[in-house]
């Protein structure tokens, strides 16, 4: 198990290294002189010189990278070109709604998706299976931005059940916060839920065919117990893998959801900064998101140890 953990941490570090390199190089990928592009044509030579210095663009590349990375490690993500504000503060301010909605939707998608898939597998061929399978096919194909708009149109504008847009922190007003968060979370988590349901269904079907299930049945155990005790524990393992792979989906989707529901989270910050060509902020957000995804992924991977004794005892 320790070996497994060490290996996973090592892989995570390598992945983060590659991503940090990418974030860092982003600014250098801007065609022509990045400073000119950022400042526009009317920039004075003085402004150009200052920004060049501020970005450290006058130093050799490896040096630039190292000092940038050093900054990142110490929590210094630079200063926004547009807002003239510390990127770290900017991100910290925008983080809570994103985390709130993201975690809510991830939990919903697991808690709803996995049981649905298991039920579909157990009732395979029946109408429940048909219904769940069809719904998950639709859920995977629905564009989430459109679904969000549809939801606003129906539940907010027409029925008036939920607020149209925006976000309220749970510390401010817990119940209001739930009303603001529920729809974005559902919309964001829907496709993940569908994918998990499908995966749970197929891995359950796979497990049911295994020899050890036949053994369990031949012992005279009730079907219900066979499913719950013998099949589920095995079927869940590949589902965990897929759940881990879905994390980037949730993070990426938050950009869209925040735009649709007008939530001032990291996703919107990235989007605005892209339009503003505020590369430093984009860089900062990117690296923070990368670390978040990688860390969450690591946690998911480590939970394997809990589900699969073959890893625990290696």
């Amino acid at each position: 198990m320790t070996q497994f953990i060490i290996q996973r941490i090592y892989q995570t570090v390598i992945v983060l290294f590659i991503l940090s390199l990418f974030c860092f190089l982003l600014i250098h990928m801007i065609p022509g002189n990045p400073v000119l592009t950022i400042l526009g044509d009317e920039a004075t030579p003085e402004e150009i010189r200052m920004l060049t210095e501020e970005l450290g663009l006058d130093r050799p590349l490896p040096m630039q990278y190292l000092s940038w990375l050093g900054g990142v490690v110490q929590g210094d993500l630079g200063t926004s070109i547009i807002y003239r504000e510390d990127v770290k503060d900017l991100i910290l301010k925008r983080l809570p709604p994103t985390v709130h909605i993201g975690i809510t939707s991830f939990i919903i998608s697991i808690v709803a998706g996995v049981p649905l898939g298991v039920i579909a597998a157990v009732k395979r061929g029946g109408w429940i299976d048909g219904f769940i399978t069809t719904s998950s096919n639709f859920s995977m194909a629905i564009p989430n931005f459109w679904l969000g708009i549809l939801g606003i149109y129906l539940f907010a504008l027409n029925l008036g059940w939920l607020p149209v847009q925006g976000y309220v922190s749970p510390t401010e007003d817990f119940w209001a916060s739930q009303r603001y968060v529920i729809m974005p979370s559902l919309v964001l988590g829907l496709s993940t839920m569908a994918i998990l349901a499908r995966q749970a269904r197929s891995s359950m079907l796979e497990v049911i065919r295994q020899d050890y299930i036949r053994t369990a049945i031949s012992k005279g155990i009730k079907t219900r117990v066979v499913i719950r005790k013998h099949a589920l524990k095995n079927a869940i393992i590949p589902v965990v893998t897929i759940a881990g792979l879905m994390l980037p989906n949730i993070v990426g989707g938050s950009v869209i959801i925040e735009q649709v529901f007008n939530v001032n989270g990291i996703g919107r910050l990235v989007l605005q900064s892209v339009f503003n060509q505020d590369i430093v902020v984009v860089q900062g957000c990117l690296i923070v998101l990368a670390i978040a995804v990688a860390a969450a992924n690591l946690l998911v991977d480590l939970s394997y140890g809990y589900f699969d004794p073959r890893i625990r005892y290696k």
Binding site: Q3, I6, Q7, Y10, Q11, Q210, D211, Y212, R214, T215, A216, I217, S218, K219, G220, I221, K222, T223, K229, H230, K233, N234, F307, D308, P309, R310, Y313
Partner: protein, 681 residues
């Protein structure tokens, strides 16, 4: 008298994509208390489905029990609800099932203790503490060392043989009345097989439980069974007591099976008589004797009549055949020469004056070592070595067959793969036709590969599923530029097809459209294509059914004579190796422990391991088996990672002395050509 289990006219079908597969077709049998009854037949003949049907364990759909009764204690089990209380009490509680695959039959995420206790709590209605105590007792009884601590381990922490013991413990822990053991030792080595079957027999006899032993191995039947049912194509074709059947087989298929298997006590020149033709196709069966296409005794009557049913030929002995084969004389109905040999039982091989073997060696392996590093963690730090092959030397002359035997994991295949340079040997020389190829660069080696071919174990995975049989067989011709044009290519491929007894008209088929035996013939044709002087056969017949094995063995033997080939014949089946080899080497844990010509090795084995191996092989003859002493080799093959000190066999050796722990014996010649690695002989 009422039988413990009485099955009448059981039929089961599988319906796949519109074709009906009659897997079990009107099968009747009974089991009495305390009996050991065997079901024999080749794979796919319906043995497993028969027994799973009785307990309603068939997956439905596609399966469907279409008729019959399974009477146990006066109740017809087929009338019970598949998941109902009543049948679940019998399933597991009264009739236990041990399956073939020990590696996959236990749940990987539950501890073995949990899995065994589950049964006990369910059927014996005892508390957890009591169940745990009984589990530990049972684990001890089936020979799991440190039962108290190992009860909380998971299945993957046990070897295959151990897992089969666990299955036995699980099934027998609830005192069932009947145990069905479905090919329980097929996946295991001979010494483990002997351990498991002896254990199983001792336990069922002590508990007065009936045992249904499902197997394809006639030796196992002869050694353990009291009564037999022979199955073919979903039907029982013959039944009787073991001695009666072996003494006086009455169904042509039973006779065919007995003549097809090589035995340890055969005269060397016995020619195997394969059951010609293909295994039956159960789809859309006609009402006709299912064995008809392969039967050498068939008459006009067989063609025109419906499928024969079991007919008592003597008290307690019944066969499903229209012909009384015991009365058939050499010439009246017999259609060809093969049949006559079936009746005579054996036929002398024409004695050819074997040409004197050449002086120089075709292949000479000197001190071959193949170590695989065991790395730990991401930095690939080496923490140890698996010494898969540890200082192996042997030679092979043109026209000679060297048999290499030993249990799985002893390094046989590694030797083969090193010789073929699928691995790069760690140390040692491999002199082939006078050149050392052990360190040769792959590019330089490639042209030489023409002269060494290989026949693989698995006829299903060793042929590219996307290539036609023609391009499989023709690949060596193209790779080595052995033909000049399309015409020559076609001719040569056709010739190769004919050499291995395949119709060239089939050459446009893809491999999965051939049967197992046919596929292996394709593999042989490919091996012959480049006209090699050496063919390495790695378990080349192990995956085939017995009747087909004989066909392939005969083919290999006749090709060898025609083409003056040399074989390195690797197998775990000692009888087959004995049949085909000129000289034999026995391997244990990466070393050769004994080598001699076949006769010396089998008649006068010296190394205790060789003796144990030979003793573990059951002989398909109940009379001989009755006389034989069954010494079971204790323990398991140690991991090559931590080889025991001194003689690596010392922890299992029946004649070990204290010195064996420290002295590492090397092969020494005890008489001309007979070398043994043991200090105590």
């Amino acid at each position: 008298m009422e039988h413990l289990l009485d099955v009448k006219n059981l039929s089961t079908e599988f319906n796949i994509d519109g074709t009906h597969l009659k897997a079990v077709d009107d099968v009747s049998y009974h089991i009495d208390k305390g009996e050991i009854v065997s079901f024999v037949g080749e794979s796919g003949c319906g043995k497993s489905v028969t027994h799973m049907s009785g307990l309603q364990l068939i997956p439905t759909p596609p399966g469907k029990i279409t008729g019959g009764e399974v009477i146990y204690k006066g109740i017809d089990l087929l009338k019970l609800k598949p998941d109902g209380e009543e049948i679940r009490k019998i399933r597991g509680g009264e009739i236990g099932f041990i399956f073939q695959e020990p590696m996959t039959s236990l749940n990987p995420v539950l501890t073995i203790g949990e899995q065994i206790m589950e049964s006990i709590i369910l059927h014996l209605k005892v508390g957890r503490a009591e169940a745990r105590r009984r589990t530990i007792d049972m684990l001890k009884k089936v020979g799991i060392p440190d039962a108290e601590s190992r009860i909380d381990d998971y299945p993957h922490q046990f070897s295959g043989g151990m897992r089969q013991r666990l299955m036995i413990a699980m099934v027998l822990s609830v005192n069932p009345k009947i145990v069905i053991a479905d090919e329980v030792t097929t996946a295991l080595d001979v010494t483990t097989q002997a351990q498991i079957l002896e254990l199983l027999r001792d336990i069922v006899k002590s508990m007065d439980t009936s045992l249904i032993l499902v197997t394809h191995n006639l030796g196992v039947v002869a050694r353990y069974a009291e009564r037999i049912y022979v199955m073919y194509a979903g039907t029982v074709v013959e039944t009787g007591t073991t001695k009666e059947i072996f003494n006086n087989p009455r169904h042509p298929y039973t006779i065919g099976l007995m003549n097809a298997v090589p035995r340890l006590d055969d005269p060397k020149d016995k020619k195997l008589v394969p059951v010609e033709g293909l295994p039956p196709n159960l789809a859309n069966k006609k009402d006709q004797c299912p064995f008809l296409p392969r039967c050498v005794f068939r008459t006009e009557e067989c063609h025109s009549s419906p499928a024969p049913s079991l007919n008592e030929v003597r008290e307690g002995h019944a066969a499903a055949c229209y012909v009384d084969v015991s009365k058939v004389q050499n010439n009246n109905i017999v259609e060809d020469e093969v049949a006559s040999s079936m009746i005579v039982g054996e036929q002398e091989k024409p004695i050819i004056n074997e040409p004197a073997l050449p002086e120089e060696n075709l292949l000479e392996v000197n001190h071959l070592k193949m170590y695989f590093p065991v790395t730990k963690s991401i930095f690939k730090r080496k923490v140890g070595e698996v010494k898969a092959v540890d200082d192996v030397s042997f030679y092979l002359k043109q026209g000679e067959t060297l048999g290499l035997v030993g249990e799985s994991g002893c390094g046989k295949s590694t030797v083969a793969r090193a010789i073929l340079r699928l691995y790069n040997p760690s140390e040692g020389e491999i002199n082939f036709q006078g050149q050392d190829i052990s360190k040769m660069r792959k590019k330089v080696l490639r042209p030489l590969r023409r002269n060494i071919s290989m026949i693989f174990q698995d006829p299903f995975s060793s042929l590219d599923p996307r290539q036609t049989a023609e391009s499989v067989v023709g690949e060596p011709l193209i790779v080595h530029n052995l033909v000049n044009n399309r015409n020559e290519y076609t001719q040569r491929v056709d010739e190769l097809f004919r050499m291995v007894g395949l119709d060239p008209a089939l050459k446009n088929r893809v491999p999965h459209e051939f049967s197992g035996g046919q596929r292996q013939r394709i593999g042989i044709a490919r091996a012959l294509a480049s006209e090699p002087s050496l063919i390495v056969c790695d378990e080349a017949i192990s995956a085939l059914d017995v009747s087909i094995q004989a066909q392939i063995i005969n083919l290999l033997e006749s090709l060898k004579e025609q083409l003056n080939l040399s074989y390195l014949f690797i197998a775990h089946d000692l009888s087959v190796v004995r049949h085909i080899s000129d000289r034999v080497a026995v391997m244990y844990l990466g070393r050769i422990v004994e080598t001699a010509d076949w006769e010396t090795l089998y008649d006068n084995p010296k190394h205790p391991y060789t003796k144990a191996l030979l003793g573990a092989v059951p002989i398909p003859d109940p009379f001989i088996e009755e006389e034989r002493e069954h010494v079971v080799l204790k323990g398991e093959v140690p991991s090559p990672l931590n080889r025991p000190t001194g003689c690596s066999f010392h922890n299992r050796c029946p004649i070990a002395t204290p010195e064996c722990k420290t002295i590492d014996p090397s092969l020494s010649e005890i008489e001309d050509g007979h070398e043994v690695a043991c200090i105590n002989i």
